[in-house]
């Protein structure tokens, strides 16, 4: 399949979906399903043409393994989420434009990952940012769109600056050559600015503020794409910043921290801060979607640390975490969306006991969080294991401390929606609610199977990653038939899974042979001899970790800091205004002259 055909078909279908929706909303929603499934299958078949170049109008593309890998992850998130679209059309403000933007942003991501030069990459990047911004504003809050757009813009403009700076010395926009021959101060400036779009997109501290706002307030059907897919665009830029810009080579003479050049270590450290901040903030959220958004911040930290390590083990872990987090996070967001479809809310204190109404959705969420928290036998464990091994190889103790904190803290926050939304007492309002239909259940089940597949047969995915590692010239991860080998030990995920099944089987048999238990009502519990008849009162979910939250409730918040900064900038503007535009016109003229002359003088000297 030719890349040009894929892009053309998806773009045509995108435009078509807008008009189809005008006639029939449901049909418009199904167009997104068909189109995204087509794109996924077509991109999957591009595997055969790796290494080929395409030129479409002014845009140049090249098919690489890493692009193929990233865009499959992205299209999985898009295509699975699209199954929800037809059912949500009535809830959208502008369903036609939603479908159009949905497919347009999807086509944009394909362009990003296969771009051959930076101009192509940048054009498609901005397409994705713009079209997704228009989708986000159809959700609960307009403010979320502003924050999303401003943070994205800061990132992309800084990156554009880096690209131009590199162009001024190398004279080319081709990704693989643009950074050749950089050195000294220019190299550091290019590296520091180029990675910014990645940090902003992946939600690394201090750019993480947009994730909870955008993920939390976007339409329920777009949050899975944002968290599972679009955030991974940032990982791609991080990948480029250590491979296309050979950061380790350029900085090989700079000051090193634990064998890693200081500029790279600095960003890894930012990743570690994101893990801690994301975890702490996720623990105290009251909205399930915001909680998952902060968990994306924390997981973005793992991905960044893994990719920036650029070694045999940790890098593979980071790359694999992209798949695992995409799958798990999309599944978790989808299951919350399914619950919201029935109950109309994502606030955790307004729900309870949905497991008795929606058992399949519950299982989907359960498997997703097991993977997200990095517990075997799901995929998240394998990638976190690899990242830990990588950190242990290099002795990066502070990063490891953050990684452990995030890993164990994730048990705390992923359990909250599980307990508040699905377990506990069912609210009287929800007693008659039903499970979602098969069409919405289907993508969730596929993602669940994928989570299990990545955990039990990780080598399927790691083989692709090993190819990527070979293509960028580092040692590929050592893989035996079933096992992953590192110099600190090896992991046989299938056998771990089988033994787990064995233990489960023994427990199950033991449970079955004992006398059958009597089923009692949920309200029939020990209440210290109090009589409680209100289900809602017997459900403990609000401020679940109150004693722990109290320990850091006074900690400074990033958003507050930004607000303070904006006030200060406004004040500075006021000061400038009072100086330049006072009541006396001669004063204004004087300052304009003075500034003009100084500027001319500096210009002459430089």
């Amino acid at each position: 399949m030719n890349l040009a055909i894929i892009l053309a078909v998806t773009l045509i279908l995108a435009a078509a979906s807008f008009f189809i929706t005008k006639f029939n909303k449901m049909a418009g929603g199904f167009t997104t399903v068909i189109s995204s499934l087509f794109a996924m299958v077509a991109v999957f078949m591009l595997k055969g043409s790796i290494g080929e170049d395409f030129t479409i109008f002014y845009f140049n593309f090249t098919i690489t393994t890493v692009g193929w890998y990233f865009s499959l992850v992205m299209l999985t998130a898009y295509s699975m989420t699209s199954f929800f679209n037809p059912y949500w059309m009535d809830k959208m403000m502008y369903p036609g434009s939603y479908n159009f933007m949905y497919l347009l942003s999807m086509a944009g991501t394909i362009g990003i990952f296969f771009a051959q030069d930076f101009i192509t990459l940048f054009v498609f990047w901005e397409t994705v940012v713009w079209s997704s911004a228009f989708i986000i504003q159809q959700g609960k809050s307009r403010k979320a769109t502003y924050i999303y757009y401003v943070v994205s813009a800061i990132g992309s403009m800084t990156t554009l600056f880096a690209i131009m700076l590199a162009y001024s010395s190398s004279g080319t926009f081709i990704i693989s050559e643009a950074f050749k021959g950089l050195s000294g101060g220019t190299a550091i400036a290019v590296f520091l600015t180029f990675i910014m779009a990645g940090l902003a997109k992946i939600g690394i501290f201090p750019f993480h503020v947009w994730l909870p706002e955008a993920h939390g307030n976007a339409p329920h059907t777009f949050s899975p794409v944002l968290s599972g897919g679009l955030v991974k665009m940032g990982a791609f830029v991080a990948f480029l910043s250590v491979t296309a810009f050979p950061a380790y080579e350029v900085f090989k003479d700079t000051f090193k921290i634990m064998g890693t050049p200081a500029p790279i270590y600095f960003f890894m450290f930012l990743g570690a801060i994101s893990i801690v901040v994301g975890t702490l903030m996720a623990i105290r959220q009251e909205d399930a979607k915001k909680l998952l958004a902060y968990s994306s911040v924390a997981n973005g930290g793992y991905i960044l640390i893994g990719i920036l390590m650029l070694d045999q083990v940790g890098f593979a872990g980071g790359m694999m975490h992209i798949v695992n987090h995409a799958v798990a996070s999309a599944a978790a967001f989808l299951s919350i969306a399914a619950v919201a479809y029935r109950t109309g809310t994502t606030k955790m204190s307004e729900m309870g006991g949905m497991i008795h109404r929606m058992p399949v959705t519950y299982l989907v969420y359960l498997i997703a969080i097991i993977s997200m928290a990095g517990i075997p036998p799901m995929g998240g464990f394998v990638s976190k294991w690899l990242i830990f091994q990588g950190l242990a190889n290099n002795g990066m103790i502070f990063l490891a401390a953050a990684a452990f904190f995030g890993s164990i803290g994730s048990f705390m926050y992923v359990f909250r929606p599980l307990s508040a939304v699905f377990l506990g007492q069912t609210f009287t309002r929800d007693l008659k609610k039903k499970e979602v239909g098969f069409f919405m259940m289907f993508p969730m089940l596929i993602l669940t199977v994928l989570s299990l597949l990545t955990g039990v047969f990780p080598n399927i995915f790691l083989r692709v990653i090993a190819q990527i590692q070979t293509s960028i010239g580092i040692d590929p991860i050592t893989l035996a038939e079933r096992t992953i080998v590192t110099n600190n030990g090896y992991l046989d995920a299938l056998r771990v899974f089988i033994v787990f099944g064995f233990g489960f089987a023994i427990a199950f048999v033991l449970f079955i042979v004992r006398r059958k238990s009597r089923k009692v009502e949920l309200m029939d519990t020990y209440t210290s001899a109090e009589f409680i008849h209100t289900r809602e009162l017997l459900h403990y979910s609000h401020r679940f970790y109150a004693p722990f939250e109290r320990l850091y409730e006074n900690a400074p918040e990033t958003m507050t800091a930004y607000k303070k900064l904006s006030v200060k900038i406004e004040e500075l503007g006021g000061l400038a205004e009072s100086i330049f535009y006072g009541h006396k016109p001669e004063k204004t003229v004087f300052w304009i002259m003075a500034v003009g002359i100084i500027a001319l003088l500096i210009g002459g000297v430089v």
């Binding site: 928290a373 294991w385 377990l423 600190n488 320990l551």
Partner: protein
Amino acid sequence: MSIMNFVLGFAMLIGVFIFQTTLTGLNRKVTARLQKRYGARWYQQFLDIFKALRKDSTSHGWVFDFGVIMALGGIMATVIFIPVAGFQSFPGLDNVFVISYLLAVGMLGMAMSAAGSGNPWASIGVGRALTNMLAYDVPLMIVIFTLIFAYDSSSLSELSAMQQGMGILGWNAVRMPLGGIVAVIALLGMLGKKPFDSFIAPAEIASGPMVEYGGKHLGFMFILHEFMTFIEVSIILALFFGGGATIWEYMLKYAILYTFTNLISGVMPRFKIDQAVKYFFKLPLAMAIIQGLVVIFTGLGVTLWF
């Protein structure tokens, strides 16, 4: 992987159950003597478990049952991976990360089942248990990280074999004394011994997660508790006290370590959960990081004795 591995694994489960339950029974006596009581007979723990398994039980829905099965299944799978005095039913699968995260499957199952009972006491208990886990696990994992960095291995059996043959000087608890202290304090937290037992506080939150269990469910929880104790003590024993060259040495060391935690528990009051977090994130965390930095930058503790 053959049938033999599974048979050995099953035999190990039986052996561990008998050993640990006996030890728990004996320790009930030790605690009683500490408190100037006579104490129950040493086999009382067995009687309690089998009595619970025989009785009628009530269930609060399928997740209440499923969680119990998942918890016991996950914990039993973890026990099978633990190397005991060089013996492993599934050789090569004793990676310390696998063990400590597989343990979490069991804990998640237990938390799920408890929260599924619909009792708010249970949810409060689970919330505290998870907070407690965050508190003790971070310092402990940093120390384990240090060990992996120092010895280039994350296999429990290899790490414990390296400490053998030099007597007490080979033990990591002696070579890396700060790490050893952190590990023992973390063990108290893992086992839910006082002062870190706020999540099961019987008089305060009606035994927390355990509040709704009765009959076979309670029996399952008792069995689970014995297995979990075995896993937790074994990890610390293998990593910091050299495991055991023979099964007898292993059992003796194990009994001493376990009884030691009970002796401390017997004379301690209880931390509130936020106090426990504050405690772990001050001294033990600092000690763990100092130990890590010493090992990473000076190699002291790894090379000194060779």
